[in-house]
Symmetry: C2
Subunit: 315 residues, 2 copies
């Protein structure tokens, strides 16, 4: 049922970490403390309007904006005569590697769905949000929009047809993310990847993916730690991230379960058991990067169990 | 505590399926209805003696027999002054691809451990049994001995150091196995594999491994079915198995969740939900192979939830 009296909603659109070591192109997780705020309002005028974006300089035309494109894809599937206005308070920097475009796209479609009385299941919203990713990076991947919509850990088994598995998330799992303020172009991050990999290394990778999935179900932090390994993508891409090796060593020494490149970088994430360890890891990351000239930000956040959060109904 | 009065045990040493489509070199499962019978008895004389082998022509010298080698590895770790006599009734044909050597090695160490009052955990027995595999095929792999000892589905994350995860097994999961009586040499099965694979295909493989593991925890047979895919090893190895494509199509048509090469072949397995479907798959396999000149055997078996079964204490 459409909630006819509900005119708007204020929501939190979470950042996310894609890839997660061995889970390149497949795994993602949702973050609790990092994300954008958005207001989605019903409008008499058909279509999507981005009425304001605070915090970042991004296109306002719906067709050139990831939120706009995702919203339009949803309207096209549901009812093209409806209209929505969108305000975005952007806290996640585009290009940081923690799902900036995914947050905007996921927030838009989740918010519209909420106002329409949930005609779509969360899983059904993912393809609309993926259209935003297609605009942002040229390929309609689901690695970030799936966790941003479903929450927790997600596994994208296939994108055509879309086949996403929501995985359980151990409650104490906490992420530390450092965002070195350098630009890593997605094209460069793709270009450094080898098109072919050794079968032996690939086998190790899928053994680790299988073990990582099991560790989430078992809440086995030690197994999770042993599985957070990537011998394929990380060795190639880490050359684009200054001090990556030092960061990784420092995270391990500080007690992290594992660490790796967030998305296609430049952000680097670590996972820890509990906030205390995650804060120690943040300090260790700080100690490494404060010796460089590179500006950076560090975030500490539990893994968010649910996706987009609805904060307030707006009249 | 050593059970000093327990002189012997009769046991069932199960066959197993290794690889399981996307899980090449990593996944394995234990079979309920196919396996060897063994009698393990304490002896006054130190060491391991293979006192008889029925059903197959295999070496009796302990050092040249997989059961002997596995038993000796265990004695060396525990107490080299102890002695055991082993009778084997061999039902699993060596070279069939359903873990013949693993059954003998697993049965031996599990039986000895039972008679000694379980000084080792099941996981600790795996490395001893792996020594049998080293004798049988030149590499101490755990893909078959892990499920034969632990039961159900197992994932070998690493062999050095050994890191095995026991996975849950949906109760209705039933295997159908056809053993075409042709020889596929392990060396040939290895030789047809390409040393390098495309990153794109490898990503699909680890997406499927992750989804398959999730499907076992979720008891999601549909997801299991979608995950039982192998675009890397199966296309290369299936050329060694006559009528493989026809078998696979017939299994799918008969209602199997999926099918693939068992171990390094020549046996082909299918997994179904429930015995009725598994029997239909058996008929479909029969219809394909009865049109060839190749002798064959077909087995239908639930996945065995536990490993080696102890049938009777012997005085």
């Amino acid at each position: 049922m459409e909630k006819v009296n509900l005119q708007g909603v204020r929501l939190f659109a979470p950042a996310s970490i894609a890839n997660i070591s061995c889970g390149f192109d497949v795994l993602g997780l949702c973050l609790e403390n990092i994300g954008d705020y958005m207001e989605i309002r019903r409008s008499e005028k058909a279509g999507i309007r981005i009425t304001s974006i605070k915090g970042q300089d991004l296109p306002l035309e719906a067709e050139n904006n990831v939120a706009g494109v995702a919203g339009l894809a949803m309207l096209k599937a549901y009812n093209a005569k409806l209209g929505f206005d969108i305000n975005i308070e952007k806290n996640i920097k585009p290009g940081s590697g923690i799902g900036s475009s995914a947050a905007s796209a996921a927030g838009t479609v989740a918010g519209m769905n909420y106002l329409l009385g949930n005609p779509f299941t969360p899983e059904e919203l993912i393809p609309f949000a993926m259209e935003g990713e297609r605009l942002a990076c040229g390929s309609a991947h689901a690695d970030n929009v799936a966790p941003a919509i479903l929450g927790g850990f997600t596994l994208v088994r296939d994108t055509n047809p879309l086949d996403v598995v929501k995985l359980p998330t151990p409650l104490e799992l906490t992420a530390t993310v450092i965002h070195p303020k350098i630009e890593v172009k997605t094209a460069d991050a793709r270009a450094v990847l080898k098109k072919r990999v050794s079968l032996e290394t690939a086998i190790k990778q899928w053994a680790n993916v299988g073990a990582l999935v099991a560790s989430l179900y078992e809440e086995d932090y030690a197994l999770l730690s042993r599985s957070l390994v990537d011998e394929i993508v990380e060795p190639a891409r880490s050359i684009l991230i200054p001090k990556f090796t030092q960061l990784k060593k420092a995270c391990a020494k500080a007690g992290a379960l594992g660490s790796g490149i967030s998305g296609s970088g430049p952000s680097v994430f670590a996972l820890s058991r509990g906030m205390t360890d995650a804060n120690k890891v943040a300090q260790a990351m700080y100690d490494v990067y404060s010796k460089t000239e590179i500006p950076f930000e560090i975030h500490v956040s539990p893994v968010k169990q649910t996706g987009v959060s609805f904060l307030e109904d707006l009249s």
